[in-house]
Symmetry: C2
Subunit: 399 residues, 2 copies
């Protein structure tokens, strides 16, 4: 059996890529940008008025002028005007191009307008209320560096530079496979010895957040059927996420059948709790990756966040962000196992604290809805004391 | 002009509700659960084996027995078996129902099986390796308390209790309205005095994350056309999110036209930066809410996060989560305005630090892609020193 650290490194070493594709900007949120984005022009592309008022030539101010006949009016979306007489002014609206021969904008609040003339109440600063051409970015500047997860802020940048079709990394095609004769559908009433499927739906929601397209499949404990269905799944998917059937039971056929189908096992069983009977393998020619998680809800949920999420990010070359939380109470570790303890977190004085969720073993699904993630307690640590900073793996959005 | 605090309280006081609907569990992520969810049975619903091995009656152990003839085998998904002779054992797989007349499970690793008999190597504890019926939750226990944002963890709970159709709060129907003659489409090449639309696409991405269905609309600066289109938009939407056209310019027709269309202004202009010319109003009979943001990208983006997000959460009765960050450098406030400063955040020693993004006024769109949110600096604070804890409004996922 290998350690968590070995297992983690092993998963992260086995990354792959599924190529590129373009998607419409409105479909690009949460996708991974694949190509650097540069400014196609200066930003702003012209000297831009940032207030509603009048545009003047500051030389007139220097000559002591306080009254400016209004030559014209310009607004956002109008081509650039020219101030013909530098003793005059042009009325200008926010977002408009600064007229030729002007260099200063005085806002309406500081003027009085009467009979086609603007009187100014106070002396302006030269160049005021102008967002200068190229002052944010110069044409050719790097705006977004790939790889990068696209969020609403990046969408704004993409739109500004005219990228309506965005080059992103392709996501894998996945299938979520539940196993076990005890499982019935959500809308069925289970017999006393049965339970409803839940892992598949949790995983589906997790993959949806990454915009990974996934099908659902269920396998009953019949070797011939499992083999046929897995053989097909390996060919038509890039990633298989299984839950159940990987422990030491007599009907845990998955590892043996994956082996028969040519999948190379990278490891099976990890010195961790929960999630010990995790099986990870790769089909060498089909390039299908198999994450075969133990069937307990907490084990599947934990291993998805511990291994799959980082592996998925690493496949795009995204840097892993590591988080820490401060223990709000003592937590017991294990001599031999890396322990992942469900915690509730809270902020206090700008610090992130974690307290353990009362739990009842890895079958305790409902505790996941009360937790924000797992803290990782390394083996051989015994009791880890309140106030210690530990590694934190979030399972929902914290901030 | 009102203060930020007055504006915020005013927005939060004017909440509404759009009723309930049911959605399939696979479409329920990020929706707001509207009905409490209870356990429909005990969890686990039966004494459940947590290891693969043998189930025995502990009385035999007390009698000194170490060898157990195997009476049968049971696995997950099989109806409960009965151990007929309490000197015997039944082979049992993880997830199976504990057989009648047994109370202890010994894992394979601690047994040797030969000639239909299991020898045990060490004395077990009574009741070991059993996840006891109802030990997680009792039938009728409250599992999920509405209102609650549904994430993958809650999906698992919903599936377990058989809720394939989930009762959620209805989201508003929204329209995102850009204004201004200077704007062209993303896929067009702007003339020197034009710029591409970007606010609409950022807002669309933000609403998508909340699963709010939104259309896009553009208004040119023509009062008659604006009036006709806004009149229609007010009738067919619950929320209007506008950007631009609400300042003091000659072509800022929006406030006047909304007034003519019967919308009641709650406020216009807030003592804040960026985002000052924010206009907020409600149509009293149509119950349409209008968030009319200033057109600068940073202003729109800031005000969406400052006002709309909290308002939207409050409409469902969700509690607001307030965050704080620690300033990594001195930041200058304003005498009269509440300032929202773009910051990059980082974690160090379990603490969230914020440092200001070099910025260039509220037109600087690209700086949003480098920032994680805004820190709020109250008016009259002058310089706020490094190390001070300040209110932090995230604009992307931090943890």
């Amino acid at each position: 059996m290998i350690t968590y650290k070995e297992a983690y490194n092993s998963v992260l070493k086995n990354t792959t890529s599924w190529g590129l594709e373009t998607v419409h900007i409105t479909a690009s949120t949460n996708r991974i940008l694949a190509t650097d984005v540069f400014a196609d022009r200066d930003f702003p592309p012209f000297h831009r008025a940032t207030k509603d008022g009048i545009a003047i030539n500051f030389k007139a101010i220097q000559k002591g002028e306080t009254t400016f006949p209004i030559e014209g009016i310009t607004s956002a979306g109008s081509p650039q005007m020219t101030l013909k007489n530098t003793q005059n002014c042009i009325e200008i609206m926010t977002g408009a191009v600064l007229p030729e021969n002007t260099d200063t904008v005085i806002m309406y609040e500081e003027t009085e307008i009467e009979n086609g003339k603007a009187f100014i109440r106070k002396k302006p600063e030269i160049g005021q209320n102008i967002h200068r051409k190229g002052s944010d970015e110069k044409q050719g500047d790097l705006l977004l560096k790939a790889p990068l997860k696209i969020t609403s802020a990046e969408i704004g940048v993409l739109a500004s530079v005219g990228i309506s079709e965005v080059s992103v990394f392709k996501n894998p095609k996945a299938v979520i496979i539940s196993t076990g004769n005890e499982l019935v559908e959500v809308n069925q009433t289970p017999l006393p010895h049965q339970i409803r499927k839940s892992n598949s739906y949790s995983l589906l929601a997790l993959l949806e957040a990454e915009k990974i397209e996934a099908d659902l499949m269920h396998l009953i404990d019949e070797p011939e059927i499992i083999k046929k269905k897995l053989s097909e799944a390996l060919k038509t998917n890039d990633v298989l996420l299984l839950s159940g059937g990987v422990s030491k039971g007599k009907y845990d056929y998955i590892p043996q059948i994956l082996n028969e189908l040519g999948v190379e096992k990278v490891f099976h069983f990890v010195l961790q709790q929960p999630g010990k009977p995790f099986w990870f393998g790769i089909h060498p020619t089909l390039k299908t990756f198999i994450f075969s998680f133990p069937g307990n809800p907490v084990s599947t949920f934990a291993n998805y966040h511990i291994y799959f999420k980082d592996w998925f990010a690493a496949c795009f070359g995204l840097k892993k962000t590591a988080f820490e939380a401060i223990l709000a109470e003592d937590i017991s570790g294990s001599e031999t196992l890396t322990k992942f303890i469900k915690v509730k977190t809270y902020f206090e004085s700008g610090q992130l604290f974690a307290e353990a969720i009362p739990e009842n073993g890895s079958g305790d699904l409902t505790s996941l809805s009360r937790s924000d993630g797992f803290v990782k307690i390394d083996p051989g640590k015994g009791k880890v004391l309140k106030g210690t900073r530990v590694s934190f793996i979030p399972t929902r959005k914290i901030i």
